[in-house]
Subunit: 583 residues, 2 copies
């Protein structure tokens, strides 16, 4: 037997018991004739004591141990004189009687501490050592717990978890597919799913009524910090539901998660239209941990010979409470912030509403105190506040103002990691127009249903059609989204037409779904959450990478195993493939 | 609102309630001035009644409905005069007041009944219709339930579910990998995992202590009825364990499953060595629902001038209780059975131990009644029994006799689907010698540890080394298997040497695992269950295909979507690949 207890288990009540522990040497301290070893496993740390006087041979053996060696130790539990109340096991120690070295260890390339001295690349290369750190392991424990609670909640609500295939048909719409050559069918390829969308809709046609799956999905896109080639979705679909049924049920799921994981009651799940979200926050995923909504000022500010405002499509402002004391330097920082190449604003207008009721602004030449007071009233500023105004083409101004709002929220400490502001954004546009390819693309996906009252617009003004689509947003992060689907094959064909698909294309890409819809498709809808994002939110992480056991870097490479890697020529030949010389 | 209740929910206590149901038209019966519609959803069937006299317009509308149309019906719950006690809802019916057609349906290509008239190919092409059948859906409900209970059991035993990557490094050992070209790394490929073996061992090195994952795995092998290119494993690994710890824990998991799923108590999990399993049943996965062990007869039967026995390496017999009455025709069938090309026996010897104590046999020429009685005693036959004897090269004879034993078990009705005989087979050989490539292959896999007492044999007689490897077998099906792993990199190198890997090969294939083992690898071991097989066993299915939502056929093709399929040339070019002309 390797152990009688884990390293996180022993307490005062175990004093005098003979125990066996196994684990890793976290730390060795030598004090006089005593050697103390902190023995670590996933469950905790227990102190082992080796006494030179009582057992000189064992003492000597202990002194030869190194960091991260794997050992087994038998001994008697004793009360510590010098208790460490930060540790669950800090009231006891083990007076060692026997010691076995199960495995030695080279000196690890970085320290196994919450704040390690290892850089990102080194941590990824030695991920198996990085994962020994509490902070990293806790994210994965949280991930396990969240997945478990999701499954519990959904199962209790009559959802069935059904595994859909990973080797599927390639449908070149949306992001780029990863493909898998088929040896048995030369020249043909499977695709890895970007989502189980078609299969979950087929399960609704099959009468499964409520489906979910926690499932890996794949996108061959150029990677950013917050993207991985493989990611995990909580994928769900329901039959015989209206939009509110879906929203209520998954809001319930999130409430359940906050309750069981964080012991927080979240009740308030406001629903905001996409139009309002854009108008008030310039974003379809506004962070509602704080207010600071946009106020459109075009009308109020026009006609003062200030050409920047007069000529702009859009003038909008936000009010930063209590920031009238901002210095020239701070204002300059904000101006630099909005002028960064990624945002590209031409400038930033400020109005300081001084505590004494006077105004100082960068537009004093054009606006007198009365004018500025009118603007202040419009944005509901009070003495002591700072008003920030941007003017530009509308879409761009909203985007920049949205970033500026978030920056001010951060500066004001209004974006706390332990505060959660959930939100449904609803009524998304059905289509987006793409200038480059001169066609409409589905904003959510091709199977999203239009709002019934907007169906008349399909023929006249598709860009104005709103969809039965919704996103769940918490703290400015889009955790998931979905829609009520089209279950009528005529309407579906109409949508394909608007997207510029020929009959043949539609048949080739989605034919089996269209066929299925002819055999009694029920009304249905659903959504998918990004599990990585949900875990990151709950763990307070900035990147999804930290909640994935073995993530890939921005070049899609696993730094530990070296994947991807060349394969042997005969493997390629078996697949009827050869490499194109890249010279 | 589409429905107030499901079609499986209403009972006598709901009588007089106004309800709304939605579902599929299972059946329409017209009797006089009444039309009865069986409305079906996942939860059950409810009868709707349309009365010509009371509501002629609605009656007419109902008469236009077709099979599998999706409808919504509002009405009042009423007690049925003609109750159907086979249905949960059979005591009530709905007196229809309103009817909406949500979707029409073409006439389905086969009937949605437990015994459908659809052939396998048609069912696979229209899988979304096939899945509407109770029998198919129930398998998937069972699958959901089993996965849920596995997760519950393992979580309660401190296992963490950790997702390992799907895009991994190709390691050309074992079965053939599916590969995925990397666009971002031209000429390089990911592989899809045949199992998360390396990653789960790395998680042990990372101190995760207890890991599991219900995970898709992939093998690009030529397919048989019971194989799919993608399949699902319950993959597990534990640290600081001996073999018995692993066996106890997973036997506990199976006991939990039988208890919660089938409400059966299974206590008896005997452990049998591989050597005994081969000796007694000629198989490493014996079906222990019945006895009928092999008896080695070489010694007893030798020296009677019967050259078939005298010259054979192995002579073995089984005793079929109560089969002395077998006719000539039945004996001939058994002889044909063992002579089939797949088995290839040269013949079958029988001895009938007649109820009156006399003998009739196919070897009367060589053996007198006394001789036959000695044989009968050896195989513990009693009057009324039939003794069947095979003689051949040992391995072959055991294989054929094993099949014959199963055939007799089936004929005797001893292989009941609701009887479960679990078993651990232990002490597998570490290596198998391959004549063709003239090298040893790991029987389980390259990371399996030898039994400590056999380590000395590694240098002298590797073929005799037994492994700390084990298989769980129930009813002759290998549900899962695993081993205690090597955690010492020197021993691991020794094993690689025996398998004929050069230092470079080993480093290229498994370098990152070998590296990891230098940083404090704990003793560890684990196993993996085939979820598809577990579900099949619990569902009493003959093929795993019936418990997979969207299986592929023997050519690896999804008959519904048509995957795999050709992709566009520019997709290939992006991947730096081109097709080899196959002509």
């Amino acid at each position: 037997m390797y152990r009688t207890h884990t390293c996180g288990e022993l307490r005062l009540q175990n004093v005098n018991e003979s125990v066996i522990l196994s684990g890793w040497v976290q730390r060795i301290r030598k004090m006089g004739g005593m050697t103390f070893v902190d023995l670590r496993d996933r469950f905790g740390i227990t102190q082992l004591v080796f006494d030179q006087e009582k057992n000189p041979k064992l003492f000597e053996k202990a002194n030869r141990l190194g960091r991260e060696w794997v050992i087994q130790c038998q001994g008697i539990v004793a009360e510590r004189s010098n208790k460490n109340l930060h540790l669950n096991t800090g009231e006891i120690e083990i007076i060692a009687a026997e010691l076995s070295i199960l495995n030695e260890s080279k000196i690890p390339p970085f320290t196994i501490e919450d704040d390690t001295d290892g850089g990102d690349d080194l941590r990824m290369e030695y991920r198996y050592i990085d994962l020994r750190r509490n902070t990293v392991r806790k994210n994965l424990e949280l991930r396990h717990l969240i997945a478990l609670e999701v499954r519990k909640y959904l199962s209790e609500h009559n959802f069935l978890e059904v595994e859909t295939p990973v080797l599927i048909k390639s449908t070149p719409e949306g992001a780029r597919d990863f493909v898998v050559p088929s040896r048995m069918n030369p020249g043909e390829f499977y695709a890895l799913p970007q989502s189980p969308q078609l299969y979950k809709q087929l399960l609704m046609v099959a009468g499964f009524d409520r489906y979910f799956q926690i499932v890996k999905c794949f996108r061959d896109e150029d990677l950013r910090a917050d993207r991985q080639p493989e990611f995990t979705q909580i994928d769900c679909e329901m039959s015989f539901v209206m939009q509110d049924d879906v929203l209520d049920l998954f809001e319930g799921m999130m409430i359940h998660l906050f309750k069981t994981i964080h012991h927080i009651d979240i009740h308030d799940f406001p629903r905001m239209t996409y139009a309002d979200a854009m108008r008030l926050y310039g974003s379809d995923k506004p962070d509602l941990r704080f207010g600071m909504p946009f106020v459109e000022l075009k009308e109020v500010v026009s006609g003062h010979q200030f050409s920047v405002f007069d000529s702009a499509e859009y003038v909008g402002g936000i009010c930063a409470t209590g920031c009238s004391s901002y210095t020239r330097k701070q204002i300059d920082e904000l101006t630099e912030f909005v002028k960064r190449p990624q945002l590209g604003a031409k400038g930033l207008v400020y109005i300081k509403y001084e505590p004494d009721g006077s105004f100082k602004s960068s537009i004093d030449k054009f606006y007198n105190a009365n004018d500025l007071e009118t603007i202040a009233e419009e944005v509901q500023a009070k003495p002591g506040d700072l008003i920030l105004i941007l003017a530009d083409e509308k879409k761009k101004a909203q985007k920049v103002l949205s970033e500026l709002r978030l920056e001010m929220g951060t500066r004001l400490g209004l974006r706390k990691k332990d505060v959660f502001a959930p939100l449904w954004v609803v009524d998304f546009p059905l289509f987006e127009w793409d200038e480059e390819t001169q066609r409409y693309y589905a904003m959510h996906h091709a199977f999203t249903s239009p709002k019934p009252e907007d169906i008349v617009l399909l023929s006249t003004d598709p860009g104005q059609v709103r969809a039965n689509a919704y996103d769940m947003v918490i703290n400015g992060v889009e955790l998931g989204g979905g829609s009520i689907r089209i279950h009528n094959s005529e309407l579906q064909h109409k949508i394909f037409q608007i997207m510029g698909f020929s009959e043949e294309e539609a048949q080739f890409k989605f034919g089996f779904l269209m066929d299925a819809f002819k055999y009694g498709a029920p009304p249905h809808g659903g959504l998918a959450f990004g599990l990585d994002r949900v875990v990151s939110l709950f763990a307070g992480l900035d990147s999804i990478r930290d909640c994935i056991a073995f993530p890939k870097n921005n070049a899609g490479r696993d730094m530990m195993s070296g994947a991807p890697s060349p394969i042997e020529t005969n493997q390629l030949t078996e697949l009827s493939l050869k490499l194109i010389d890249s010279k």
